[in-house]
């Protein structure tokens, strides 16, 4: 990636668009301090992301998780509880379940009924919701999501994007969402960055044109906007 420079301000719902291989996930990992830039600087809340320590202000929903597929024994509740980690706690192994914040987060994510289920027995969409619950349980100021709806169908996607929009509007979280789904961007984003190794466009979503998208994807694009799901006849 080259020559990338932009800011996400408090209260923004920033959507990062781009084709596969464009560097979107790299951008996210840079923002989180998981990668260091070869040139330039990356800051979270004004501090260098590599040295950032105040992680309680940040929630992260990755696209994939290492542990799934190993028969990871944790229940959904145990996974969401992880989001409440605040540092070394030698008594963690003895703590009881059923904490208020966890129940609330499960409720917001719409999966209260799955609380005691093993995380591995969930479907893809349900697991994403569990990861969202884990990310928001600590009431973070900033929420990062990496393609949270890949593998989810159109109906599910709409519901997800409603959830994320409401987290931004009603719960006041700043959102940084990576997606290849333009529809998501139109729904709730306040700021959009189109990335293909460099920044192709940066601004409010209603100003994205077919030309921008053509440059982004490398082939001619016509834009059709739909407000909701309906059939084409």
């Amino acid at each position: 990636m080259e020559d990338v420079s932009f800011q996400v301000r408090q209260g923004d719902f920033a959507a990062i668009l781009g084709p596969n291989g464009s560097g979107k996930t790299t951008l996210l990992r840079l923002a989180l301090g998981l990668l260091k830039p070869t040139r330039g600087s990356v800051e979270l809340f004004g501090e260098s992301s590599a040295r950032f320590r105040d992680w309680s202000r940040v929630g992260y929903v990755p696209q994939r998780v290492d542990g799934i597929g190993t028969r990871f024994p944790a229940t959904v509740e145990e996974i969401v509880e992880q989001g409440l980690y605040r540092g070394f706690d030698p008594l963690a192994i003895f703590r009881k379940h059923g904490r208020k914040e966890v129940l609330e987060a499960l409720d917001v994510a719409g999966i209260s009924h799955l609380r005691k289920r093993p995380i591995e027995s969930l479907s893809v969409g349900q697991r994403q919701r569990a990861l969202i619950a884990r990310a928001i349980v600590g009431q973070p100021d900033l929420l990062f999501l990496d393609e949270p709806v890949s593998g989810v169908d159109a109906v599910g996607r709409d519901r997800f994007h409603e959830l994320i929009s409401s987290l931004n509007r009603e719960h006041g979280m700043t959102v940084f969402l990576i997606s290849h789904d333009i529809g998501a961007v139109m729904q709730g984003a306040t700021v959009c960055a189109c990335i293909n190794r460099t920044v192709v466009f940066h601004g409010p979503p209603h100003r994205i044109t077919g030309e921008h998208l053509s440059e982004l994807y490398g082939f001619p694009v016509d834009v059709l906007l739909h407000d909701s799901i309906h059939e084409h006849r």
């Binding site: 998981l34 992260y60 998780v65 024994p73 980690y85 027995s121 479907s123 969409g125």
Partner: protein, 284 residues
Amino acid sequence: MVAILAPSFGLFIVLRRLSLIADTLSHVALMGVAIGFVTSIYPTFVALIATTLSAAGIEQLRSRGRLPGDAALAIFLYSSLAIAVIIISKSSGFNADLFGYLFGTVLSINDRDLWLIGILLVVVILFVASFYGELTQSAFDQDLAHVSGVRVTATNLALAILTGATVTASMRVVGVLMVGALIVIPVLAALRLATGFRTALLLAIGFGLLSVWVGLAVAFYADLAAGGAIVLTTVFMLALAEVIGRIRDYIGSRRGKPAAGWPALPEAGDSVPSAHPETGTDQG
């Protein structure tokens, strides 16, 4: 004691797909033992140093991405085995003591070894209990753990080093060649049945203890090598866990509950069945 030690640790090893690290470190321990014999320094101690240094080295190679995890393990495994073979052939060859290290002499342990295992047991129990949060988070996902504030590199390193120590301590019980079995197999049995992380931990320890007791009993009455009997018992326990698991799943499905560990049926909102959680719909 080892039966408690190995699987409590082993759970995190297996979940991080590092099951072969136990085997690799057991070969390093063998090299350490061989060096110890030749230099007349207490072999267990040398093995401990060797495994600690190797564990740190493996973790460094792995975390810096210089080599894929299994390649780093292969390098350490084969080179330490080769060094061990060279040393053993240069000296007077196999003798009864070395045999004990290779295959385990649980029935004739000396006091020093007992103390070492005891101390390690306490250390590991304290470590797993105190760092439970950090260990479970890094086992679930390393990046997520980092973004939660867990010191992932330090946790991984501590885990690797303690694995080396565990391998060295377990050496005397089942022998260097079968250490990996006690670390990994009771854990696999537990994962087949457990719901909930703490349950998995307790179940893994339970299977470990059961395997050792039953294995020793069988070895005693049937006059078999203790190490071999114990390891075969762990595999038997795994099979038993599978049977119990299937019975439980069957009963559960009669009552309409989804089977634990089986992917759930796709529901509205999923376009991809969760049997393939890594497949995404590509609309780039």
